[in-house]
Symmetry: C2
Subunit: 332 residues, 2 copies
């Protein structure tokens, strides 16, 4: 990301929970920044309106008109058809499925717009400016372990997008065939075993089965209010049922990481997302198990680290993507 | 592979069962060709001797001296450290683990030599000259379903090798955590569920358990003589136990293929190896299941086809790798 003399880009990360927007300079510096809740329950049109207004706000704060932008990049959760600029499906943004989001944004601002999967954008952000910055890394796999599990791939120093732009769905790699049903319709996906919703599901099932645990008290006595965060809190307090649930998730995360090591032989795996914060309980045992299970050579080579960015990997990576595309089109 | 005016390459594919060697011209034409058995039970030195003599033979037949070669490429089964030119481990060629095979070959012939994983080489062979030739393909995953399962990856039009050169171990992607033990030490690898040895293992276990089947008769009454080929033959004769074993393998192969589709979003998956011949019994149901299980967009995009080459994908791909490296070093 060495585009210091370049016009800035406007990038926005549209997720199921929150929207982050920023104007980003050619060197990766954040010129203006805003975050708001997505509130999908208000409907797709209301979300689009909020998306536009937060984009207007960061433009205004940066004192820029759309004509002064190198481009716009929208990072979005879901299966993206990059050729068509369409979100083909998105469990966390169901109302956006089938909508030509790229063209809608492009015509609202009159600026060349790119639509990219949020985890692919985050992979690029961590590659250029985050966990991989300053390291000799050509091959990186980014995994966001959050409510769901998303992935992005850097292969040979370039973002790997596949035929349509929707490569990297590592969360939906089946690691336990005939295992628990995933939201995607398959059974035994990594996401169905090691994500936030999987941890919450396990806790609810065990509590409903009469399991003794402080999880219920921490959730205000309501089983339906249990989240992965409640389970993590209970585990930290020493609750053995909660610790068992997280140990199981760590076991399966380790299986998934070992698969990534053996398939990609990467120098670096970067783990972002809310669950990555459970370092000693989740990430450390998963990392240890993965390095042990993988083949010797790639297992010794790989470093498995936490993401550098909490909120900004997506917008920084999306901006980098826009800069790269602008340069490509200019024949650079 | 457009190197018609280039010197030819000598390439050799060293597997656990057989050795194939050829002199290959810059356009991919095979100038001379030999095949022999590996006979690993005779020891590593005897295998090396046989390797050298078969290489001498194809050189002689092509009326070439080593000095007239663009380079030598050795495709070898196992986990290859390409930087060091060493086979770090190889279940099918255990005696070669730790041997500096690249340097040994280079000093025997006095020619620049490359060592590459056999399935990665085969991916390149199918990409340039086989199943992908003449098609608009940038992203291809090659899978050899044989005694074991190997893999090779073409990403964005280039061979993807990872940090050390050992990427692509798709056969050792765990798809059924806590499933049957694999030869690699992990449990529930694709190879432990859908390879030739897995099919033979299932048949032997069922027969030992008293299962009624024509497999035993076809194996000459000896359970230990049962192979995947025996099971395939029995299934073709209508034996229900054999058909069930192959249907199970197809189910798991489908799970693995769907993972490949969702992770790589490739235009093409190419399946080689002996078991690919069981088209209607193994490959067709696996392909159908994979396209159904994968996400809609990548599932519609991908074509899953049989490899074009039976014996020569490895030697052609290895030669292509040697040509590409020669060109790179010449700054081309």
């Amino acid at each position: 990301m060495k585009h210091d003399e370049q016009l800035p880009a406007l990038s926005v990360d549209l997720g199921g929970t929150k929207i982050v927007a920023a104007v980003v300079g050619g060197g990766g510096q954040i010129i203006s920044w805003r975050r708001c809740l997505t509130n999908i329950e208000e409907g797709t049109n209301a979300v689009l309106k909020r998306l536009f207004s937060v984009m207007d706000e960061v433009l205004g704060e940066a004192k820029l008109s759309p004509a002064e932008l190198a481009g716009i990049a929208v990072a979005c959760a879901g299966i993206i058809d990059m050729k068509k600029g369409v979100v083909t499906m998105s469990p966390n943004l169901p109302g956006f499925a089938g909508i030509k989001l790229r063209d809608i944004v492009a015509s609202r601002f009159g600026v060349k717009t790119h639509l990219i999967n949020d985890a692919s954008a985050a992979a690029l952000g961590e590659y250029y400016l985050g966990a991989a910055a300053g390291r000799s890394v050509e091959n990186l796999v980014y995994l966001t372990v959050s409510t769901g599990i998303g992935g992005g791939i850097i292969a040979g120093g370039r973002l790997y997008l596949g035929a349509d732009g929707c490569a990297g769905e590592i969360g939906h790699m089946v690691i336990k065939a005939d295992g628990p049903l995933c939201k995607c319709g398959k059974s035994g996906c990594l996401e169905a075993l090691a994500s936030g919703w999987a941890v919450a599901r396990d806790a609810k099932e065990l509590l409903k089965g009469g399991g003794k645990s402080s999880i219920l008290r921490l959730a205000g006595g309501k089983i339906e209010a249990v989240t992965a965060a409640t389970v993590a809190l209970a585990a930290r307090e020493g609750d053995t049922l909660a610790q068992k649930i997280i140990a199981d998730a760590a076991h399966y995360l380790g299986v998934g990481l070992a698969n990534i090591v053996d398939i990609f032989n990467p120098e670096l795996i970067v783990i972002g997302g809310g669950l990555a914060k459970m370092g000693n309980m989740l990430l450390d045992p998963a990392r240890k198990a993965a390095k042990k299970a993988a083949f010797g050579l790639p297992g010794r080579t790989v470093r498995i680290v936490r993401a550098r960015f909490v909120n900004n990997a997506g917008i920084l990576g999306a901006a980098a993507y826009a800069f790269n595309q602008t340069q490509k089109e200019a024949g650079g």
